[in-house]
């Protein structure tokens, strides 16, 4: 009778798996992975869809805000133009007791050239005018 080495128990345990178990192991792992991947993909898609929807709503909100700001911009432009209206300014000035000067007062300022040919004013006696009619 010859002696035989006793197989290492761990290897033996592995090798000792039944053929049925061996057949099942490789089938179960891809399925799990696939299932997990599918679930992750599903959640990813849902997340992407939600993100897209959220962005779309955000885009709509921004567009609406742009339209509102543009409207506000033009309303302010109108308001500014209305404030600059000479009719309004004159009315406000009169309410404050201001009056049109009866006569313009030209003030001669040395060194300022004039573009209108002077007739009775000596050349070089440059003038500019202040005041209103």
């Amino acid at each position: 009778m010859t002696s035989r080495a006793i197989p290492f128990p761990r290897e033996r345990a592995t090798d000792a798996a039944s053929p049925a178990v061996r057949r099942h192991l490789p089938r179960v792992r891809p399925l799990v992975v696939f299932t997990l991947a599918a679930i992750i993909a599903l959640f990813a898609m849902i997340y992407a869809r939600i993100s897209l929807d959220r962005n779309a709503f955000e885009l709509q909100r921004l567009e609406s805000q742009i339209a509102q700001e543009q409207a506000r911009y033009w309303n302010l432009k109108v308001e500014a133009a209305e404030l600059m209206d000479p009719v309004r300014i004159t009315g406000a000035a009169e309410e404050m007791g201001m009056v049109f000067p009866e006569r313009r007062v030209p003030i001669e300022v040395d060194g300022i050239t004039i573009d209108t040919p002077a007739r009775a004013i000596a050349p070089g006696d440059a003038t500019t005018t202040v005041g209103s009619p």
């Binding site: 409207a71 000479p86 030209p106 040919p117 004013i121 003038t127």
Partner: protein, 581 residues
Amino acid sequence: MQRPEWRWSDLRVLTVGFFLVAAWVTLGVRVYQVQAVDAVEFAQRGFDQRIKHERIPAKRGTIYDREGVELAVSVVGADLVADPSLIDDPVAVASLLEPELDADLETLSERLSRDGRYALLGSALRPETVERLEQIIDDNDVVGLTLVPRPVRVYPSGRLAAHVLGLTRLDDGSGLEGLEAGLDDVLVGKDGTRIVERDPGGRAIPQGQFLVEPARPGSDVVTTIDRQIQFIAESAITEAVERTGANWGTVVVLIPQTGEILAMASAPGFDPNDRRGLDPDAIANRAIAEVYEPGSTLKVITIAGALEEGLVSPGTAIDVPQRIEIGPKEYSDPSRHASRLTVADIVRKSSNVGTIELQQLLGNDRQYAYLDAFGLGRASSIDFPGERPGTLEHVSDWCPSTCGPSAAIGYGVGVTPLQMASVFATIANDGEWIEPHVVAEIVDADGNSIVTEPRRRRVLSAETARQMRQMLEGVVAGGTGYRAAIDGFSVGGKTGTAEKYLPEEGIYSTEDRMASFVGMAPIDRPRIVVAVVLDSPRGTLDDGTELKFGGASAAPVFAVVAEATLNELGVSPDLPTDTDG
């Protein structure tokens, strides 16, 4: 074998079974029809219900003054619409809305009480009105009212330059009068389209079908109008019309070297923001829409023609009787004068007889040629599609004896105030006619600028123009136009007082006159030309002078407008002022 006993319960089972099978078969057939046979049609029908084609209105271009201040702007306003079926107390709701809307209480109540589910209560409401209405609706919990956003045309300066700017229609916003109508094609822009998939609540479906063709805004228009000068002109002509009781009045201020119109004012005026009780007559831009016989202001053309042809000079003296007979007509001078007058005297004293004698020297053909060269008988500017051309019959249609003489003193020829301003601007601009215009620049949505050069043509030599200016200065310095004088400036111009033709009766009025004054300053190198026309001014001045004369009613308006304009433009005085001591 014995047949099973028939039972009523079997019949019930069979009946129910039959109907169940029939129902399922019917349902199956219908499902097949919907899902397979008519699938495309139903899918399309659903798609059509979700898809909305929406118009994106193009923003109408803005109209600016010469300094870039907005004169006409489109903003987002709204229409106020009601669903009368939801309004419980129409009178109460109407009383809430009435202060903010054009319609009166009775009209609003009627609209809110009518059958149906739609009533338009207010159209083209301005943003501030919309804001107040929103507040009213919220505060009072009013149901059945909706503010529908829409573009609204706003004129920030109200009445200022209203005749130049014109109006837009309230319904579709297209131009109706003035520049709004004349430049409608430029201002209007191109509407865009938005195709969007919406849920039953009207909300856009994210990731749904969405397609936008953006609107292309209209071009902006920069005008030559100066708001300060426009205000001065409007104030002066309004005051003159009120003071003299004239039917209407108009003022045109332009720069002779460029043809730019700084101001074009008419009285009575109107506020384009307020259409309530708007008088159609007040909308007319008298400066381009009124054709009148100018009287003596037209003498400058005949006299300039005689000078240009070398027939006379300003110092040429001729015998001028008080009256002259030509054909069946007798022409006379209103005031007595010496029997011999120089051409300068004829201008200064506005002698009808002297001018007719110069016309006789010039002849009809050459006179017509000058009238035509100065632009009479055709529209002056392309900027005003509503401008009337006036009336100038071809010389071949003139009567042989009196048509020429009558035209020489401003009768038988119809002009607009703008045309007369243009005639004097030609003299002011050394004899070169430049098309008067109010549009300085058109800027499209991409920022491209279009500047149209005004037409030009030489009518007189510079020397003749200079001589004319000197003679016109005499009219103000010591002639009929002395009330047009401005302290510190040399002023030249011509008065005009023409009998008013009454077309309905076919005669000239014995009372009413067309009073005018057209002038320029400073005379050596005029910076401005101002034309003033008043229709039938009445009354007298303190010194007894009748206001029906152009020198009494129109010349003072010229003085006010010209002085303020020169000051506004920063033109220095060319004469010593009273304050110089």
